[in-house]
Amino acid sequence: MTYFADVGALARKDLLLELRARDTLPAMLLFVVSTLVVFHFVLPAGSSDLAATGLLWVALLFTALLGLSRSFAAEREQGVIDGLVLAPSDRSAIWLGKALSILAFLALAELIALPAYGLFFKPVGAALVAGVVLADVGIAAVGTLLAAMATASRARELLLPLLFLPLAIPIVIGGVGASVAGDPGRYLGLLGLYDALFAIICWASFEYVVTE
């Protein structure tokens, strides 16, 4: 299907750009590890493991924001978004391609972050990893659309966190819940529901975000 060919071409383009520029992903990796180190000093002695888990999610969230704020940088700085919007391909393919590349960046960042967390604090369980995977999907979906919105405005660096954080609250609840609760299933279910609902609404409404 040409739709998925378009998505593939766009995602490939984003990964290629990052491979050439090598700015976003290294920044994300450094940021998340630095944050984890800071957290070691932030937690008073005798803090529970649970607090550390919560902080991990904070770290992941802000690392994601870092990546998302750069996600439309190339399109914005060079005005290329017009070129993509003019193409006969479905505009939602732009969103999906970009979201997939963000997902890849998040996954790579977590490939470093989770072992680091395991090293600094406590080992990571399967439920946490599952939570992270599901959360990533939600973050990538919603974050990409919001990043596109923020790009259009003057106050883009300020706007993206403001738009994103309220929407990230259910993700955080789901993720932390899956990491610490006795029955992670419910929380993974919440994440799955969030992902499904918001992916659909992002897919359907992206067209309106980039056109007049």
Partner: protein, 209 residues
């Protein structure tokens, strides 16, 4: 408007219980009104995107503006209620309050979005999409917050809401209707005011030609 205010003063004497209960008659109807405003804003947003309804953008904006005001009132009345009931100005165990905090933040960001874009079809489109996200966020947040209870706080507070006898229930319904009427009136007022502003601006520009 006069009818709404009359209604509000009419039902007040019917209350028999303490201040605690009285606040409840404000708090929940105001909350419901806020939900309704956000829902209406979302509906108008959908009409803007789907049917290219010209007026819908402004209507959506006004509805959400009202929703935020009522949301703030919900938080304030809720806080007062919490103070009387549990002795704290804020309690995380009260789902409604937490939900409104999240929604309040979300819709404040709506205004940040709106003010950072120049007026035009792009701003209208983005506002509408964001408003629709809000509508989806509400049920998801309700579920999420309810789930978050289980690992954040051991539930130590007695959370039963007030049970309502017949006369109280009637009072409650009257309150809901009254607050909806207030909201609807404010909505029409603000909408008319904004439309007047736009008309004035258009006339001024036509004169400059």
């Amino acid at each position: 408007m006069a009818a709404a205010i009359a209604l509000i003063f009419f039902y007040a004497p019917l209350d028999q219980d303490g201040l605690n209960q009285k606040i409840f008659y404000f708090h929940v109807p105001i909350a419901l009104t806020a939900y309704a405003s956000f829902g209406w804003g979302g509906w108008k947003a959908l009409r803007h995107l789907w049917k290219r309804d010209e007026n819908a953008d402004l209507e959506s904006y006004v509805a959400i503006h009202l929703g935020v005001i009522f949301g703030l009132l919900t938080l304030v009345t809720g806080s007062i209620w919490a103070k009387y009931r549990w002795g704290h100005w804020w309690v995380w165990s009260e789902d409604q309050l937490v939900l409104f905090l999240v929604l309040f933040l979300f819709y404040c960001a709506y205004f940040m979005l709106r003010y950072s874009l120049p007026p035009g079809p792009q701003r209208a489109n983005m506002s509408a999409v964001y408003a629709l996200f809000g509508v989806v966020l509400i049920p998801v947040s309700i579920l999420a917050i309810r789930l978050s209870e289980r690992f954040i706080h051991p539930v130590a507070f007695d959370r039963g809401g007030p049970n309502m006898a017949g006369s109280q229930f009637l009072t409650f319904c009257v309150c809901v209707v009254a607050w909806f009427a207030v909201a609807a009136t404010l909505y029409q007022l603000e909408l008319a005011g904004k439309r007047l502003d736009i008309r004035l601006r258009e006339l001024r520009e036509a004169l400059q030609e």
